[in-house]
Each structure stands twice: as structure tokens, then as C-alpha cells.
């Protein structure tokens, strides 16, 4: 029998930790060797305990997931890290993966996904939740914001989101109101939106706000 995987869990919500422990108790060959709600305690715990895998939340108050993961991976490159997050925004996923996470699992995914993630990650593979994979593939398939929108169009979106009128935008950017309207029409077309709400949502998703 292969030795059980020694897991450390960090999440600022105790309820989440309890849920993960409950889930793992009945599945597979794992031992939870430690849990903490404080990201800043993780490095200290790793010094004193032999750990094979860290399951880490991404959005934590004292230290964000990417920073923690990067620090952990620098000191313990062999230690496997699964990021367990409620976020599937592109920039967050990218930051986490760049920081060195081996796998990325969404909190709202099925129980099986986490168990599969643990198994695959221990084999040296990468597991990414299906919804995140789709987002990453779309990101490769479709143009980036910089390729899609000109600098001026991005400026205009920012001002539209701030509820500037066409006239105010024109004054701010030293262009005519008519040109602003042309830009707006092109922006709606390019972002596949037709209302201010839709455009605002687009802006937030793409960090243009």
C-alpha cells in the first residue's frame, strides 16, 4: 500500500476546512496533518511537520494565495499545491498558476473533482476544474483585450463605467461627441454588449473599471 498523502489545509473559513476534512475522510488514502485559518502560519507549520500537499484557499485576508503559494514553492519545490478557490476570473487563475500551484479547483465544483485533483496532483499531473479549463482555452482562442480594443476604446469604457456623459467624455479626451458615439458603437459591437450594464460587467470582468 502506498503511504497516505499528508495534507495541510489553509482557508480563512473554518467551515470550509471542516467541509474538506469531512469530504476527505471517506475517500482515498489521505491524512490531514494540519489545518489553519491563517495563511501566515503555513510556513511555520511546514517547518515542523512533514507535508506532501498543501490545499490552499486563494482569497485570504493576511496573505493572498499567490503570495503564499510562491513562498511555499520557493522553500519546498517538491511540495504539491492545490489552489481551492471560488474565483474563476482569468487574472486570478493566472496569478495562482504562475505562483506555482500544481492544480486549481473551484470550491463550487463536485466533491469528486477535489479527490481527482489530489490523486492526479500526487502523480505529478495538473488538474484544473472544467470551468476554468474552458475559460483558459477561450482565452487562447479569442483575442486579448489589448488586441481587441484600442487604447482610446479602453479609455472610453472606463469613463462610461464612471457614468460620464458623451459630452463629458468628449471634453475629457479632446475629441468630438460624434466621435465618442462612433467609439461607443464600435465598443458595443466588439464586446458583444448593448447596454451600459452589459458593458460595465465586461469592464469588471476584464479589470477595465
Amino acid at each position: 500500500m502506498t503511504p497516505s498523502v499528508k495534507i495541510l489545509i489553509v482557508d480563512d473559513h473554518q467551515l470550509m476546512i471542516d467541509g474538506i476534512m469531512e469530504l476527505l475522510q471517506n475517500h482515498g488514502n489521505h491524512t490531514i496533518v494540519g489545518t489553519t485559518t491563517k495563511a501566515v502560519h503555513v510556513l511555520e507549520m511546514l517547518k515542523n511537520t512533514k507535508v506532501d500537499m498543501l490545499i490552499s484557499d486563494v482569497n485570504m485576508p493576511e496573505m493572498k494565495g499567490p503570495e503564499l503559494i510562491s513562498k511555499v514553492k520557493t522553500t519546498y519545490p517538491e511540495l504539491k499545491v492545490i489552489a481551492l478557490s471560488m474565483h474563476q476570473e482569468k487574472h486570478i487563475v493566472k496569478d495562482v498558476l504562475k505562483a506555482g500551484a500544481d492544480s486549481y479547483v473551484l470550491k463550487h465544483s463536485t466533491q469528486n473533482e477535489l479527490i481527482e485533483a489530489i490523486e492526479k496532483t500526487m502523480l505529478g499531473e495538473t488538474f484544473v476544474s472544467a470551468a476554468v479549463t474552458k475559460m483558459l482555452v477561450d482565452d487562447v482562442k479569442y483575442p486579448s483585450i489589448e488586441e481587441l480594443l484600442s487604447e482610446r476604446e479602453r479609455e472610453i469604457i472606463k469613463l462610461v463605467v464612471k457614468e460620464y456623459t458623451g459630452k463629458q467624455i468628449a471634453e475629457e479626451l479632446f475629441i468630438s461627441e460624434k466621435t465618442v458615439e462612433t467609439h461607443k458603437r464600435n465598443i458595443f459591437r466588439k464586446t458583444n454588449t448593448s447596454t451600459l450594464v452589459g458593458l460595465t460587467k465586461f469592464a469588471i470582468e476584464h479589470q477595465l473599471d
Partner: protein
């Protein structure tokens, strides 16, 4: 100089492409000659029934009527090619103001302006 294009692909003929290319060339060469711009942005967007082409620069604005009535062939070249495409052009510029936008709208179906 930056360039974006959105969903154009094969919606326009080679003839239209060449005409648009010449127009852009004319506009850009005017910017380089006169505007003292540090940035030029060209974007081509499919707007459903045609193309919206924008050439923006951050240089000095100019007086439109003196450009249209000028001695050079710039305006004549642009105008005749636009006629061919059934397109329209608009200049958002002002003497003494920075930032010029040239907006060119070209329908996908060529219109016969001579008849109209």
C-alpha cells in the same frame, strides 16, 4: 503605431481592400508629414452592414477646409477612392487642439453614387 481589426476577414473584396489600404496610407502619410504625432492607432471594425475604420493620432489638429482645398492630391485621392467604395469620411480635428480622429465608414455592398 497600433492596429486592431475585428471580424473583418473575407467580408470585403480585394478591390475594396486595396482602396481602403490606399486611403489609410494617405491619412497616415499626412499625419507623419504634418501632425507631429507620437502615436497613431488604426482600428477596423465590422459594424454589421459595413466597416468602420478609425485612424487616430495624438498630434496637432488642422483646419479641414484648408486641407480639402489644399494644393496637394491628398484629399482628391481619398475622396475618389471613397466614392468608389460608396463610403463616407469624417474628420474630428480642430486647429490648435491635440488628437485627430479620421472616421471612415464603408458599406459591404458597393453603392453606385454616380446614379444618386
Amino acid at each position: 503605431m497600433d492596429f486592431q481589426s475585428f471580424e473583418i476577414k473575407d467580408k470585403i473584396s480585394d478591390e475594396q481592400k486595396v482602396a481602403l489600404y490606399r486611403i489609410i496610407q494617405e491619412v497616415v502619410s499626412n499625419i507623419i508629414k504634418y501632425a507631429k504625432a507620437s502615436k497613431i492607432n488604426i482600428s477596423v471594425t465590422d459594424v454589421g452592414n459595413g466597416i468602420s475604420l478609425l485612424v487616430e493620432d495624438d498630434g496637432d489638429g488642422f483646419d479641414i477646409s484648408s486641407f480639402k482645398n489644399g494644393k496637394g492630391n491628398g484629399w482628391k485621392n481619398i475622396h475618389s477612392r471613397l466614392d468608389l467604395l460608396g463610403g463616407e469620411i469624417e474628420f474630428d480635428t480642430m486647429e490648435g487642439r491635440k488628437n485627430t480622429t479620421v472616421i471612415i465608414e464603408v458599406p459591404y455592398t458597393k453603392q453606385n453614387i454616380a446614379v444618386a
